[in-house]
Amino acid sequence: MKTLGGVPRWVVVIACVGAAFILLPLVAIISRVNWSQFIPLITSQESVAALVLSLKTAGISTLLCLVFGVPVALVLARTRFPGQRVVRALVLLPLVLPPVVAGIALLYTFGRQGLLGSTFTFLGIQIAFSTTAVILAETFVAIPFLILSLEGALRTAGSKYEVVAATLGASPTVVLWRVTLPLIAPALISGAILSFARALGEFGATITFAGSLQGVTQTLPLDIYLQLETNPDAAVAMSLVLVAVSIIVVGLAHRGANPELFRP
């Protein structure tokens, strides 16, 4: 028997119920899988197209999250400016915003009638109903995960190593690449993986903003939702695929968050 480590027995009981609440639905999905048809179901042209599109868009979104999220986290953690608290709160808003609201907001920003829509139309770029729209939607909902994880890591790490690097003659850019980023590498990795996972699961903002078309905007979650109407076996099979991908992603994030590197 493992020890309870001073945790009251009743807390353990509630914890078991809580864990079961999370795990049972996963078991339920697995129990519903039509195993004899599993391989044909997940290798159907529609499913593969959705999976490939999902992985592609989530991958590109993660890159965009890094490109824009790292600077945002740096500015939030290392500089001081008026209204900083407000900016931080707003930047993290997509985290708590219902995805469908995010979709509407994006529609009114990048849509044909949107804030920037006429600019893009002028440039000959059509965003609505394109894979770009999916990527924008996914980036929008995923980027707070990266910013949150990085900003925390930057604050914990402090700036003492950066100060030393500067007095050794390193310019701010060199300090960023050779000291700051390597020091927060674990948070960078786990943040990127979390963003990828969030992007992979995006549904509401995508259906609202990007629509649904096989191979272009119909990502795995959209495909699963649609399949549920007509071909529940396929929906369940694809759900299991998404569960598997998510488990791998969560596992990687745990590894990425290994604090080994932080020990002096």
Binding site: A166, T167, L168, P182, L261, F262, R263, P264
Partner: protein, 302 residues
């Protein structure tokens, strides 16, 4: 390579001026919060002054309308903690400065190896900082600071965080590398001042209150702080007297100064009794005979 500093930082209540001649090592003494860190910060470019200027080797570091960022000052800072970059090997740490200033990789490594040899740390070259002891890490940090070939080296209590057993060896290393180098060392340890510094300045309340050749300042202290550093009592008339030469009694005597016991501490085989600004060292037996406790009225003779 003359350094002149004359700056004010209102938020820290500092008004500091200082001159360091080329090749001179100056020790900065002062109580906590006296303004020593502010002085180093001003020189390293980590603290912005409200007014004043700093000139190193003819080049203005800061002044009216001028602000040179830390990485272009040619000023290296060695802190209490070694702060070696944990993600780089020892060799890469030492090569960091030269690499950052644009020296090629092979040349940087060669320079790093030379400096590691200078501080007797060649054997650690391929190790990670986490595998070093505090003293070893600080030696590497010295090599790293010097590998940038700074015009001015700042040392902020470089041995304060180390195990006392490794301090003498590190002090010897510092004595070697600081010879003929323009440097400022902040310290609490009077031994550092005697061994490493040509000159001493004393800071209190954000101002330089005393300055001069090490022996002159410390052997004939003019401030209570400097006197306390060398273990002497500074008397109101400017004379100094050793605590062991002060006698204590519990009854009034001719020529004695009255006071109240503020503190009692054991120092090796002696007991030090503090009365106001004065300290008296008593043999334990004598201390027991007097039966002193804080708050007692006593009379001192010296």
């Amino acid at each position: 390579m003359t350094l002149t500093l004359d700056a004010r930082v209102a938020s820290r209540g500092a008004d500091l001026s200082l001159t360091v001649e080329a090749g001179e090592t100056v020790a900065v003494l002062g109580a906590n919060g006296a303004g020593k860190s502010t002085m180093l910060g001003l020189l390293a470019g980590l603290v912005r002054p409200d007014s004043g200027s700093g000139v190193l080797d003819g080049e203005t570091l800061f002044g009216p309308g001028v602000w040179v960022p830390p990485h272009r000052r040619g000023v290296s800072l060695l802190a209490q903690e070694a702060l070696l970059f944990p993600h780089l090997s020892v060799l890469e740490n030492v090569a960091f400065g030269p690499r950052s200033s644009g020296v090629g990789s092979p040349a940087s490594r060669a320079r790093a190896l030379a400096w590691l040899a200078e501080v007797d740390a060649t054997e650690f070259a391929s190790r990670r900082p986490a595998q070093l002891s505090g003293g070893q890490a600080q030696r590497v940090a010295i090599a790293r600071a010097l590998a940038t070939e700074p015009k001015l080296l700042l040392l902020d209590e470089p041995m304060a965080a180390l195990d006392v057993t490794v301090v003498p060896a590190l002090r010897a290393v510092l004595k070697r590398v600081l010879a003929g180098r323009t440097a400022i060392i902040v310290t609490h340890d009077v031994v550092d001042a005697f061994t490493l510094a040509d000159r001493v300045i004393v800071i209190d309340g954000g101002r330089v209150i005393d300055s001069g050749p090490t022996r002159q300042v410390l052997q004939h202290p003019r401030t209570p702080f400097a006197a306390a550093l060398v273990g002497l009592n500074l008397l109101p008339d400017g004379r100094t007297v050793a605590p062991s030469d002060v006698t204590v009694s519990t009854s009034a005597r001719a020529g004695a100064v009255a006071g109240t016991v503020d503190g009692i501490e054991t120092r090796g085989d002696l007991v030090r009794v503090r009365v106001g600004d004065l300290a008296a060292d008593l043999a334990p037996a004598r201390f027991a005979d007097l039966g002193l406790a804080p708050g007692d009225r006593v009379w001192l003779n010296y």
